[in-house]
């Protein structure tokens, strides 16, 4: 099972795309760290779905278009992306700021979307729950605060980025700041129309998430009462990376029969 890399040109922007697997389309929207490679959870997804993993404009090897000023620009881009590729009945899976992006896409138009799955998503105001200040943390703090299992952090820290990787890190960080600096990691107006989302929704959260604490799920519970919420124990901000088996169990249970 392998993923094929291609580059697509939409809205004057070249975007890198990894695609693999068979079945109904599943669109994975990455978070601030970008797409670092093919991870075990992606391979598991590809066993059941036709998995689409684009690198958002502004990240990785994709272009940095002038029109990219905020999350809404990315949402419109992806509506065009889905139309361009004639995706329909897509399962959208968004992680972290990719989850916020998924919400912004869905609140506008769910006609090409079958289900919405969000992993530790940002996007709405979370009263009483303050996100970790990712922009003040050092690179080492960021890595340590991403995972509950510190051996994963140790492993990442043991292999410092190459100059090329460092370039990508700086680029991703720039775009992430452009999208999420202020209001920090949310759109204060999104909650007003979030009820427009009319597709089955699941929210998966790592119980020990230090970046977007699990308490934030309460705000989502209120904003999206129809959504099912699953908490993965002994897990930080990226359940799909840290606990791929448990993550896939939870996800597949939700997606099966939909």
């Amino acid at each position: 099972m392998s993923f094929v890399e291609s580059f697509v040109q939409i809205d004057g922007c070249k975007t890198r795309l990894l695609r693999g697997g068979q079945g109904a389309p599943l669109l994975y929207l990455h978070g601030a760290n970008g797409v670092t490679g093919i991870q075990p959870f992606m391979l598991k997804l590809a066993e059941r779905f036709d998995v689409w993993i684009p690198e958002h404009p502004g990240f990785g090897q994709s272009d940095e278009p002038d029109w990219l000023e905020n999350i809404h620009d990315l949402a419109y881009y992806y509506l065009n992306f889905m139309r361009h590729h004639q995706l329909s009945g897509a399962h959208v899976l968004g992680s972290s700021i990719g989850g916020w992006l998924a919400l912004e896409i869905a609140v506008r138009d769910t006609s090409r979307i079958k289900t919405l799955s969000l992993i530790g998503p940002s996007g709405i105001r979370t009263p009483g729950v303050v996100p970790g200040d990712v922009f003040l943390w050092s690179p080492e703090q960021r890595i340590r605060n991403t995972f509950h299992d510190q051996t994963l952090a140790d492993r990442m820290l043991a292999s410092p980025p190459s100059p090329e990787q460092q370039e990508i890190l700086l680029k991703n960080r720039f775009t992430f700041a452009r999208l999420a600096w202020e209001p920090r990691l949310h759109d204060p107006k999104l909650h007003k129309w979030i009820s427009r989302i009319d597709v089955p929704t699941q929210i998966i959260w790592g119980e020990q998430d230090k970046i977007l604490p699990v308490g934030a799920a309460q705000a989502f519970r209120e904003a999206m009462p129809q959504a099912s919420i699953a908490v993965v124990p002994d897990c930080g901000h990226l359940p799909q990376s840290e606990r791929p088996d448990q993550f896939c169990d939870v996800l597949f249970k939700f997606l099966s029969g939909k």
Partner: protein, 390 residues
């Protein structure tokens, strides 16, 4: 040479023991550590020092803007410049500088500067800066738009000062249906615009442009860096087709004059080192948020990161030309030597730094004014040229 007395107005009475629990005095040092009674004394003391500067013979006085930090308690230089406007009569008043991107409405900066310019009968020098990285964390202004907002705000302010109102302004960040400034500034076409910087090619390209020819000030940098960037300004201007005047270049540097070299170093050491190693210091991520500086510059800076956050001794700072400290004749020689290399037309001396107390600050100022200032002021004039070639 134009010599200006520059003040940062630090919270000099900071409880150093309590604040040592925090890695920086910027942003999150609890404001419970600011005592308004001490603040009252400090503000008035510092304003007295600046007014005393006019009395002693400085050509101008300068204030600046920093927010939510013990490093400087002037979040509004407009307030301090206004306090000085009516208590000085001759000295230029320099705001170095207003942080354009931090304001919602740049027109308020245009208005405030215009008012001070009119009240003083044209003594204002308008400095424009982007604000320091920490202030983007503090205010929530997106640092990836810092340059954009700065340039657009600058354009709006200059047009507000010079284009007949009312006119409308539609930009990416600022939109105003009626720009119609009352008052218009006193100076024509507008107060001189000065650009303080820690060293940036982009800033130099922009400031030296023939349409602008703004005075560029290198601040708090080793002498080698000052020379490099002032020369870069000259080369850039020549490349654009004109020879810049010395008045377009400036250097801002802390200064301490003692009775002897040894006395100067001994007296200044604890206060300078607190300024440099305690008040000035902040973590890398706070100083340089994403987009604040270009990724190209960031690459170079990240490599030098170790030395950025390291402590500097007084001796090292003097050796690097970041601090002029010694007897009057030593300081005079240092300045003349640097001037011969760099030919700046503006010198900004900071005579109070960190915890330096009032009596020592005044003694510093008096020695400088009596034994250094006359010689330095003469630099760049025909008389100095004649003496040099004699």
């Amino acid at each position: 040479m134009q010599v200006i007395l520059f003040h940062l107005m630090p919270y000099a009475d900071l409880d150093l023991q309590k604040s040592s629990a925090y890695d920086t005095v910027w942003m999150k040092l609890p404001n419970a550590l600011f005592d308004p009674v001490k603040g009252h004394q400090l503000y008035n003391r510092f304003l007295d020092e600046l007014e005393y500067g006019e009395t002693l013979g400085w050509d101008g006085v300068a204030v600046n803007e920093h927010h939510q930090t013990a490093y400087g308690i002037m979040p509004s230089p407009i307030v301090t410049a206004s306090a000085l406007a009516r208590r000085t009569t001759r000295a230029k008043i320099a705001i170095l500088g207003s942080a354009l991107p931090l304001r919602e409405h740049p027109l308020t900066i245009a208005e405030e500067h215009a008012m001070i310019d009119v009240i003083t009968g044209g003594r204002l020098i308008s400095g424009f800066v982007r604000g320091i990285g920490a202030e983007y964390h503090t205010f929530g202004v997106n640092p990836t738009f810092s340059h954009d907002r700065f340039h657009e705000a600058h354009d709006l302010i200059v047009r507000a000062w010079t284009d007949p109102g009312p006119f409308s302004f539609q930009g990416k960040h600022y939109n105003v249906s009626y720009v119609n400034l009352w008052p218009r500034p006193f100076q024509r076409p507008h107060p001189p615009i000065w650009i303080p910087s820690q060293g940036s090619k982009e800033t130099i390209d922009w400031a030296s442009h023939p349409d602008r020819r703004y005075t560029y000030l290198q601040t708090f940098s080793p002498a080698k860096a000052v020379e490099k960037y002032l020369n870069l300004y000259r080369e850039t201007a020549r490349g654009a087709g004109y020879e810049p005047g010395d008045h377009q270049l400036g250097w801002a540097v802390p200064v301490y004059v003692g009775a002897s070299d040894e006395a100067a170093r001994r007296e200044a050491k604890p206060h300078f080192e607190i300024f440099r190693n305690r008040f000035l210091k902040m973590p890398f991520e706070m100083l340089l948020p994403p987009g604040y500086t270009s990724r190209e510059s960031l690459r170079g800076i990240a490599a030098a990161k170790g030395s950025l956050s390291g402590d500097i001794t007084l001796e090292k700072a003097v050796e690097l030309g970041m601090f002029l400290c010694g007897s009057a004749s030593t300081v005079c020689e240092m300045l003349e030597s640097y001037w011969r290399d760099m030919r700046f037309g503006n010198l900004l001396t900071m005579c109070q730094f960190g915890t330096l107390p009032e009596d020592m600050t005044r003694a510093n100022m008096e020695r400088f004014a009596r034994d250094v200032l006359p010689a330095i002021k003469a630099l760049g004039t025909e008389k100095a040229e004649a003496l040099a070639t004699a």
